[in-house]
């Protein structure tokens, strides 16, 4: 008998569970009772808040909104008497009309889709009067982005329509809504977007709205997008973009005392207004398919280049820290550095002072390769094995933010490369590798790769005498301070005392009569800098310059990178000093330099490279 009781128990228990579940579903309030856009009895209407504005650090408006009008269709409700007349009104062909209708039908008969996007204001006024005649169609106001400054497209990014694929990941978006897909629009999407409001309306059997659904208990109010203030100085940014016209490369300028990005320039660039309005997809394709100029590629953040001579300041700092050299260590320049027996295994020195003895100060402003190769070798060889040596060296460099993502609020970035023992163990698996094998690292060639923003950050760390703040692009959100992680200084592994001799050297790069960048001097501003010429197997060398100013109370630190710009002081140096002068004083004294930079073009060089590449390809095909 006991056993039959078990069955009764199971049956009764199941019944009770069902009744409890049904009670929850039907009597209590629960999420299943909130209607969706798929329900026929309820019409769901979204209230879109205005997207937040973006300002520069001085309060200049960089991104605003402008109204736009879309013709929407709900296919299930369409009743058209005269299609042809409607087509004429919308200025589309009948074939296009049928195409669009099919697409909308395939998507959904009940959910509205965009029929004709972004009609002009003139057409809107005309259409508004006639629209009521065509059941199932209506006009929806949307807001589009507007860029009053025509600049900073790489920083601001762009917004685009959410597609099917994205909806799978982000459930809170509906098809056709807008989402930031690059730049600040992307990283601060949540803040800029705000929250859309939802209103539910009860429909009767004839689809007519008869009032709010359940007295509006499920309705929510939209909350507006937040305004964002960037760290960028739009005047400096625009000036930098002009200086970089007809060149390829990037400029990153930071405020060393805060890590705020003052300017982030990538050249070639494009007008952000190109990606707004009816021509958007056409223009986007054009930019996207331009694989030669790569305008959508942010060279300041994504370009990985050998840093060249500016890297020597770090080689020296590490050597000082590890006690491999001191200020007074004297090294004779033999015109180069021989690291192997073969005649090719020779690193030439371009300081032009063959046979002279160098101390640290002079080595920096003359950029003597021999000196730094020796300093590097001494550092590595201080340890029991080159593996330990190079890993210690690597740790020092990583404390400057090199070799890894900076972990900031920019939507793209690259790691760069700082080689360690692991890499060389793999490369030289059959021999015991030595410090000399890796000697080109000492002068920023070899395996070392950095992005311009990393280089700028390194400069800021030197300017600060040993610490930096993570570079970031947003200053305030709706008047509120940003993430604390951008406000905490990051210490480098080099003692403060070692920075002064380096900074003195960097100062002489411009101020000494033999300094490599003596022509980039600016009267009245104490600039510290370092030229760089990075070897490039594909064409002319890259022109590099890092600088900060003023020397004792640095307000700006920057890195300039000009692809195929021959050598550092030819393009990057003058551009850097113009940027500094512009930022610190607001006007330019050396107008001839400015003129040369503004009008100078490297397009011929790029064209030549392109032709050579084509030739090579042709040869390979033959």
């Amino acid at each position: 008998m006991k056993r039959s009781i078990l069955l009764t128990l199971i049956f009764t228990l199941t019944g009770i569970i069902f009744i409890a579940r049904l009670f929850y579903l039907q009597v209590l309030e629960n999420p299943y009772k909130i209607p969706t856009i798929y329900s026929s009895a309820v019409k769901v209407k979204f209230d879109y808040p205005e997207r937040g504005y973006i300002y520069d650090r001085n309060g200049n408006l960089m991104v605003a909104n402008q109204p736009s009008y879309d013709i929407m269709v709900i296919p299930g409700e369409v009743k058209l008497k005269d299609t042809l007349e409607f087509c004429q009104l919308l200025k589309i062909s009948k074939k296009k009309f049928i195409d669009k209708q099919k697409k909308a039908w395939n998507y959904s008969t009940r959910i509205p889709s965009i029929f004709v996007p972004q009609v002009s204001k003139v057409d809107f006024g005309y259409l508004q009067e006639k629209m009521h005649k065509y059941e199932g169609f209506y006009i929806q106001k949307r807001s589009l982005r507007e860029y009053p400054l025509n600049s900073s497209s790489n920083i601001l990014g762009y917004i685009s329509e959410v597609d099917e694929q994205l909806i799978q990941e982000k459930k809170e978006y509906q098809l056709g809504e807008l989402i930031g897909t690059a730049g600040v629009e992307k990283t601060y999407e949540k803040e800029l977007r705000g929250t859309k409001g939802v209103r539910f309306f009860q429909r009767d059997r004839f689809n007519k709205i008869i009032g709010p659904y359940k007295k509006g208990i499920y309705d929510t109010l939209p909350s507006p997008g937040k305004d964002i203030t960037l760290t960028v100085d739009s005047n400096l940014q625009k000036y930098g973009e002009q200086l970089m016209q007809n060149k390829r490369g990037g400029i990153v300028a930071l405020e060393p005392s805060s890590g705020e990005i003052l300017a982030l320039i990538s050249a070639p660039t494009y007008n952000p207004n190109m990606l707004v309005g009816r021509k958007r997809s056409q223009n986007f394709t054009k930019l996207y398919l331009d694989t030669i100029n790569k305008p959508l590629f942010d060279r300041g953040l994504q370009g990985e280049y050998p840093p060249g001579s500016p890297f020597k300041s770090l080689t020296a700092l590490i050597a000082l820290q590890e006690g491999a050299i001191d200020e007074k260590t004297s090294i004779r320049c033999s015109g180069g550095y021989r690291y192997g027996k073969k005649s090719t295994e020779y690193m030439e020195c371009h300081c032009g002072k063959k046979g002279e003895n160098f101390k640290l100060h002079k080595a920096i402003y003359k950029s003597c390769n021999t000196y730094f190769a020796n300093a590097y070798r001494k550092t590595i060889e201080k340890f029991e094995s080159p593996s330990v040596g190079i890993d210690t060296w690597k740790n020092h460099l990583e404390s400057f933010g090199l070799g890894n993502y900076l972990n900031n609020d920019l939507s793209v970035g690259k790691k760069g490369l700082i080689p360690g023992s692991k890499l060389y163990d793999r490369w030289y698996s059959d021999v015991n590798w030595q410090a000399t094998y890796t000697i080109s690292n000492s002068i920023g060639q070899g395996e070392v790769l950095t992005t311009p923003i990393q280089l700028a950050n390194m400069t800021a760390a030197i300017a600060n005498r040993g610490h930096y703040f993570t570079p970031h692009i947003v200053k305030e959100i709706d008047g509120k301070e940003i993430d604390l992680k951008f406000k905490t200084p990051k210490e480098t592994s080099i003692d403060k005392a070692y920075f002064n001799p380096i900074i003195d050297g960097l100062f002489s790069v411009l101020e000494h009569e033999e300094g490599t960048a003596r022509f980039s001097r600016v009267k009245g501003i104490e600039i510290c800098g370092k030229t760089g010429t990075a070897e490039n197997p594909h064409g002319q060398d890259h022109s590099i310059f890092i600088a900060f100013a003023p020397k004792d109370d640095p307000k700006i630190a920057l890195a300039v990178f000009v692809e195929n710009g021959y050598w550092g002081s030819r393009w990057a140096g003058p551009i850097a000093s113009l940027m500094i002068e512009k930022y610190l004083t607001g006007n330019i004294t050396n107008t001839s330099n400015e003129k040369r930079m503004l009008n100078g073009s490297l397009e011929d060089e790029y064209e030549k490279q392109y032709q050579e590449k084509l030739l090579k390809l042709e040869k390979r095909n033959e």
Binding site: R21, L22, F23, N30, K33
Partner: protein, 425 residues
């Protein structure tokens, strides 16, 4: 003979028949509501589902009379023959069956289809009763256990191969019968443990479950060692074996789930366990049906007023998801009534069975109650979103001739046997 047939109307359980009439009648109203979009006015017609269902209901009446008028002994005597016939009809599907929606579960006769698995339930219940009521049959012996399992497994596997795994699951209900008739209680424990482990593995993943199993068994061992030291050695061996079986079971569950199950099965489980949220595609049915029921509220929107029902929002609305219509149009009042009525109906069958003198009738009756219970529990569990999507009908409510006739046969054989209780079978 004559006296028996004339007395039968006095001895049959009219309460069960009242339940039957209520279910079929209310069921049809809901099918009407769910299909009346097309041409609501015409009733006795083959052009719409509620029209067809009305025909199936009317055809039930002579069918019921025949079932009741046949001598009870006939069912006992030919139980094995019914069983063989059912198995043959299931095998025959592989040769002559018609493929509808990916499963070969139907014979087509003209424009109609007959689903033999619906009728097989009665035959298996009869055969089970016949097998187990034998005096020499002892469920304590392994040989007899095996016999009983094979009896269930043959039709179960044939149906699973059609493939119609949903209908095959119903055959597990006969385990309840065997349990009632004396199957060792450990089987129930093992099944319960196995099901729990199965769900836990899917929910928490193999690794975390393995860790929890180790901890669990570790503490059990400590507990036994502390309080029952004398038997510890004896238990330890058992614990280790049980532990090894548990972990290999958990592991194979994961393997089977990942490699043997098809994606659609995985999706159903994952949606239910809350591991994937998908309201537009795979979880569409469940989400829509739960929403439709929720929209009914306390008293529903009223007969023929449910716009989700009529808007064809829920797929299979008239068959597997007919309970949605009840929920939307009749609200909590309607659904609770149906659940309570079903519960009383099943308990009534159980109660009547337990009072039988004839073990054959008792076993058959418990089989009937179990089959109804499984259909009821799985179908409503699925529709209210607490069980995965398994497509089986709600007895007497869902649209479909075969299922209606199958359940009618199942019930009325019991009523007939029950009416015979004074005569030993």
């Amino acid at each position: 003979m004559r006296s028996e047939t004339s007395n039968i109307w006095r001895r049959i359980d009219w309460l069960l028949i009242l339940f039957y009439i209520l279910f079929v009648g209310f069921g049809w109203l809901n099918i009407y509501a769910a299909s009346a979009g097309e041409d609501a006015q015409s009733f006795l017609t083959f052009s719409n589902n509620h029209g067809k269902q009305l025909y199936w209901i009317i055809f039930c009446i002579p069918f019921i009379f025949i079932t009741l008028l046949i001598n009870a002994k006939f069912y006992v005597k030919y139980a094995s023959a019914f069983y063989m016939a059912s198995i043959l009809s299931l095998i025959g599907l592989f040769l002559f069956g018609k493929n509808i929606n990916g499963a070969t579960s139907w014979y087509s006769i003209g424009s109609m289809g007959i689903q033999p698995s619906e009728f097989a339930k009665s035959a298996i219940a009869l055969a089970m009763a016949k097998l187990v009521c034998d005096k020499h049959f002892k469920l304590g012996s392994f040989k007899h256990q095996l016999e009983a399992f094979i009896l269930i497994a043959i039709p179960g596997i044939l149906i699973a191969l059609q493939p119609d795994p949903g209908s095959a699951i119903i055959y597990l209900s006969f385990i309840l019968v065997l349990h009632r008739e004396g199957l060792p209680i450990s089987y129930l424990y093992i099944s319960f443990f196995a099901i729990t482990l199965f769900i836990a593995t899917l929910y928490f993943g193999y690794t975390s479950l393995l860790i929890s199993l180790i901890i669990l068994f570790f503490f059990i061992s400590i507990y036994i060692y502390k309080y029952k030291q004398k038997v510890f050695r004896q238990y330890l061996y058992k614990i280790i074996v049980l532990f090894l079986i548990s972990i290999s079971y958990t592991y194979s569950t994961q393997i089977i789930f990942d490699h043997v199950f098809e994606q659609r099965h995985r999706d159903r489980f994952n949606i239910l366990l809350g591991k994937t949220i998908d309201v537009k595609d795979i979880g569409y049915n469940t989400n829509q049906s739960v929403r439709a029921i929720a929209s009914g509220g306390d008293f529903g929107k009223g007969f023929l007023q449910g716009e989700r029902t009529r808007g064809n929002f829920v797929p299979e609305q008239q068959t597997d998801y007919i309970f949605c219509t009840v929920g939307e149009e009749w609200g909590f009042a309607g659904t609770a009534t149906v659940v309570v009525l079903f519960l009383f109906f099943i308990l009534r069958i159980l109660y009547k069975s337990e009072r039988q003198k004839s073990p054959f009738t008792r076993i058959y009756g418990i089989g009937v109650a179990s089959v109804f219970f499984f259909h009821f529990a799985i179908n409503i569990g699925m529709v209210v979103g607490i069980l995965p999507t398994i497509g089986i009908p709600l007895p007497f409510f869902s649209y479909g001739g075969s299922s209606l006739w199958g359940f009618t046969l199942l019930l009325f054989i019991f009523i007939r046997l029950d009416a015979n209780k004074r005569n030993e079978l």
